[in-house]
């Protein structure tokens, strides 16, 4: 028993502590991301945003959380009980477990696994289940339409996301996230990945169901889509899951394209700032991009969304995979 404790117990305890800290940080970030969203949108629309709760409305997320906690969870009589309750849990859990492989600094990662990027891709591709199950179990037409929209949308954009990831992997030669950040690439390779960066940015908007691709929610047409029947904590779990997913996708973009925790442009003098700060700053940049697009673009029509995914992004990324692999071989720059 002592041996078992020495071998596994202490490690497990440390692991749990790490997980606890990580989840605490993520949930804090999610709470203040909702605040940032309201503030940024307000400033872009020449309003004030939340002002009343605490200085500059800083306590607003906490007040919102308390409100959601104290409300009653309503399960519609015609809903499919177990699936209805499990759906938000799946969304929330998936948004959190993906963080296990994200390296926030040189050695700061819970699980430094060989197939880190595939793990991330697998987790994000399972995210559709929370939405589709919620849509079906609610037994409501709006929710069902939202679920169907989301399913086809997320499956479509995953294809181009996968090909973008293939492009990056070709230049890096490893599926390990830490190595993706640290492997040095020539400047022209970075330049060649720039179009893929743009495609990826648009795809993560669709993948997280954010404006201008927020058709699964589409409040003006299907009144809130898949979460129309949800209330109180079940709704809060969806909400937290969506924002945690946005932060996750931002972190993924930073790791794939923006050099993770390394200081920008490899300037030596900037490396006195800890890597985790750079990582957080870069992630915030992409997170701001989410809000910026929401304030700027009107919602896409559904056929336009599908056209963009299948007729523009898919052929383009496929073509670019060939271009990247061809030029890597021609210039003998394969890692």
């Amino acid at each position: 028993m002592v041996e078992l404790w020495d071998n596994y117990g202490l490690q497990a305890l440390f692991m749990l502590l790490h997980i606890g800290i990580l989840i605490g940080v993520i949930l804090g970030a999610v709470a203040y991301y909702t605040y940032a969203e309201r503030k940024v949108l307000a400033l872009m629309q020449r309003r004030q945003g939340p002002m009343m709760v605490g200085p500059f409305g800083l306590l607003q997320p906490i007040a919102d959380g308390m409100k959601l906690l104290s409300k009653e969870t309503i399960i519609p009589a015609q809903a499919n009980g177990p699936v209805f309750v499990v759906a938000p849990m799946i969304t929330f859990t998936l948004a959190l477990i993906a963080w296990a492989v994200i390296p926030v600094n040189a050695q700061w990662v819970l699980a430094d696994i060989n197939v880190g990027i595939l793990y991330l891709f697998a987790v994000s591709s399972m995210g559709v289940y929370g939405v589709i199950m919620a849509g079906w179990a609610s037994n409501s037409k709006y929710a069902f339409l939202g679920g169907l929209r989301s399913a086809s949308q997320m499956v479509s954009y995953e294809v181009s996301m996968g090909l973008v990831i293939v492009c990056v992997l070709l230049c890096v030669g490893s599926l390990n996230l830490t190595q993706i950040v640290t492997v040095e690439r020539p400047f022209w390779v970075d330049l060649m990945l720039f179009p893929m960066f743009i495609v990826f940015l648009v795809s993560i908007l669709a993948e997280t169901n954010r404006a201008p691709f927020d058709l699964p929610e589409g409040e003006s047409e299907i009144t809130g889509g898949f979460m129309v029947e949800y209330s109180a904590m079940t709704f809060a779990l969806f909400f937290l899951g969506e924002y945690a997913n946005m932060i996750l996708m931002s972190a993924m973009t930073v790791i794939l394209f923006l050099g993770g925790w390394l200081p920008p442009f490899e300037i030596e003098a900037l490396s006195i700032v800890p890597g985790v700060v750079w990582f957080a700053l870069k992630t915030c940049l992409i997170m701001f991009f989410f809000l910026w697009t929401r304030a700027t673009f009107p919602r896409y029509r559904y056929d336009q969304l599908m056209r963009l995914g299948w007729k523009i992004f898919l052929p383009f990324t496929l073509f670019w995979v060939i271009v990247v692999s061809g030029s890597l071989i021609y210039f003998e720059a394969l890692p």
């Binding site: 060989n114 197939v115 591709s125 289940y129 169907l148 995953e158």
Partner: protein
Amino acid sequence: MISAIAFYLFASITLLSAIMVITARNPVHSVLFLILAFFNASGLFVLLGAEFIAMILVIVYVGAVAVLFLFVVMMLDISFADLRKGAMQYVPVGLIAGGILLFELISIFIAWGFAKSANDNIASPTPEASEVTNTEALGLILYTDYIFAFQVSGLILLVAMIGAIVLTHRRRPGVRKQKVADQQARSRSDAMEVQKVTPRTGV
């Protein structure tokens, strides 16, 4: 010991959810249990040290194939009580198919003892996990020794995909579609004109 516990956990959940797939009353629940079975099977692959296969199983089967499956089953509107009435008459056929599968599985293990190449296969085991990651090991084999089989299977999939599209695609007359090129090609001269409107006459 920990890995044994994990194995029995994954294996028992896989089996239980596989049983639930065929016994669940609601077809959507069946598909959800099928997904759970896939997911736990990928857990078993991780325990084997085959992390690449595990992740691909989740990405392809759970993330894409099963989503479409669920999609279709959700939209079906069938009375399943009616469907179940005649189910018993298929039991003999099902038993035969299951029996054949079981026999083949068992005979694989028996054949392993007889086959001449079996010993060779044991003699050249896969490389150590510490030397080369199994993604790399798979790639080294797949794109060299089995390149022909790989490309043929790719071709078969392509043909199947084109076949499915050709068979299901129908051209419906009278459907108005957005033609983006036409919209872009419109110029100011054929879209609008400026008219001089004199008062009290109208256009």
